[in-house]
């Protein structure tokens, strides 16, 4: 029994790389959870995915210039993600192309470019690092970056919370009272890209968006308002990080997929058990309220 409990804490007590990884997951979850909730509410779930792939060529260019430097790769990734978001947005605005098609087109170009860059100049080991992340090798500087991004995200969301939600729920009303919805939308896209860059350090480009979307999709089954959904999503994300790290430690699994699969389990459980629209609530016969 005590050995079992020990297993929940010992890895973090014994190894500093596990402690760092845990703190990184905590920060990532706090930032990604609320951002993911707003993404799903804006019906942009797949655009998060597109943007996470779009980060790759920037990270690759950073890697080619500065070697395996997380700072250079992050800056590159941020620039590439933002470029794709802006280009896709502009094309949608000026040509009438659907936003999802526009995002898909640019992220595919970006992803192909990224894979090309990494495979011509780096080795396949580097490519694996970029694609699947290095959470067990997070150093102090990248930890600071991840924590900084999480703090900035929560502060910014607090400041633009009200207009951002109105813009999403009733854009016509926001236009009628002040007409500046686009600015909040762009600011929000910057936050999405920032959080993907933070996630990409730890989980890799392919997995980064998982910690954003899965807890958000699960939160919908537990909460009725945006703030409570964001809190639930952040909680699930943090917990997934912790459980995923433990699984990866005890069973010798790669940490990124372990974390995302844990979040995936949380999502599946929420579909079944969630008290709002969950399958059990929906299909189990309920007694009528007696008055």
């Amino acid at each position: 029994m005590s050995g079992w409990i020990d297993g929940l804490f010992a890895p973090f007590v014994e190894f500093s790389f596990m402690r760092r990884a845990l703190v990184a997951c905590l920060a990532l979850g706090l930032g990604c959870g609320p951002v993911g909730v707003l993404l799903t509410l804006r019906r942009m779930s797949l655009m998060g995915d597109a943007l996470s792939h779009a980060v790759l060529p920037g990270a690759a260019i950073g890697f080619l210039i500065a070697g395996f430097s997380l700072t250079a790769m992050s800056l590159g990734g941020f620039a590439a993600g933002l470029t794709v978001a802006l280009l896709a947005g502009l094309v949608t605005r000026f040509t009438g192309q659907r936003e999802d098609a526009s995002f898909a087109a640019f992220y595919l170009i970006s992803l192909a470019l990224g894979v090309l860059l990494v495979s011509t100049r780096g080795s396949s080991v580097d490519l694996l690092h970029v694609l699947f992340g290095t959470i067990l090798a997070v150093d102090d500087r990248s930890l600071l970056l991840v924590a900084g991004i999480a703090s900035l995200t929560l502060l910014t969301l607090a400041l633009i919370y009200r207009p951002l939600i109105v813009e999403c729920f009733d854009p016509g009303f926001l236009q009628s009272v002040r007409g500046r919805g686009t600015a909040y939308h762009l600011l929000f896209l910057v936050l999405v890209v920032l959080n993907l860059v933070a996630g990409f350090q730890a989980l890799g480009t392919l997995m980064a968006v998982g910690l954003m979307m899965l807890p958000a999709a699960a939160a919908r089954f537990w909460a009725q308002e945006v703030w409570s959904m964001a809190a639930v999503a952040a909680g699930i994300a943090v917990l997934s990080g912790y459980v995923g790290l433990l699984l990866s430690y005890h069973h010798d699994l790669p940490s990124g997929p372990a974390i995302i699969l844990t979040a995936g389990m949380a999502y599946l459980l929420s579909i079944v058990l969630g008290h709002r629209d969950g399958l059990i609530v929906r299909f189990l016969p309920r007694r009528h309220l007696q008055t």
Binding site: L41, R162, I165, C168, F169, F173, R178, G179, Q224
Partner: protein, 247 residues
């Protein structure tokens, strides 16, 4: 005659590069209650959007010099709102205080009490904590009217406020519109139901891209005018020239 709350001067507005409102001139008197009617695609919604400044005028001018933007309330067609969004009834109504709370200021107890009173005025007592996804279309429209009550606007624009709304709600909300009229606010509503217009709206603008007739309802809604409006809308669909200026 009253002073004009809003006047249109040779106004042309384009939608998708075709003129949707064409060389329209006239004035909405201050405190007037006007219905805008016309065939589908007659430019009714486009006109409201242009008045709100959401679409630019290609030629001509819209003058509402005496009114600031916060003096105008606008209810778009319901389809533009996400009714599954996780937000409570009270939070939606509180948005009517936008010019007092903006993006950052707190909602005081007094503002909250006013919102509760507005909900009571549209007969939605005890609905504050309900999520909007649980409301019927009629109940949700009552919520939007409660929000407009708080906006306390001098000019109120309604785009098809009673389409797909049950009869009882329509009657209650028409009472709200009449109360606004009694308070000397200027109300402009896009409507389809001509009986309703004849019964409740003293003034009417019959629109088929160009203005067909504008004035007292009984003189505007004549069979002859209605026929002309229909013919005009049909003829224009094929021959409408592209706009000179991008919308």
């Amino acid at each position: 005659m009253n002073t004009a709350a809003l006047s249109l001067n040779n106004l042309t507005v384009c939608y998708d590069r075709h003129p949707a409102v064409h060389h329209l001139s006239g004035a909405f008197a201050s405190g007037s209650l006007t219905a805008i009617v016309g065939p589908n695609g007659a430019g009714k919604s486009t006109l409201l959007k242009a008045i709100m400044g959401l679409l630019p005028a290609t030629t001509g001018r819209i003058d509402h010099a005496a009114l600031a933007r916060s003096d105008i309330a606008y209810l778009p067609q319901q389809a533009q709102i996400d009714r599954q969004f996780p937000i409570t009834v009270l939070d939606v109504v509180l948005l009517g205080h936008w010019r007092r709370i903006g993006a950052l200021r707190a909602v005081t107890a007094e503002l909250r009490a006013k919102a509760v009173a507005a909900l009571a005025a549209v007969e939605l007592n005890d609905f504050q904590r309900r999520p909007i996804r649980s409301l019927s279309a009629g109940q949700f429209q009552r919520v939007l009217f409660a929000r407009m009550l708080l906006q306390d606007a001098r000019l109120i624009l309604l785009d098809e406020p009673f389409t797909a709304i049950d009869a009882r709600t329509t009657a209650d909300l028409l009472d709200v519109v009449r109360a606004w009229h009694a308070e000397r606010r200027t109300v402009i509503a896009v409507l389809h139901d001509l009986e309703q217009v004849r019964a409740h709206f003293p003034e009417t603008l019959l629109l088929a891209r160009s203005g067909i007739a504008w004035g007292q309802t009984a003189q505007v809604l004549t069979p002859d005018n209605l026929r002309r409006a229909r013919r005009m809308a049909e003829a224009w669909d094929e021959s409408a020239p592209p706009c000179a200026v991008d919308p």
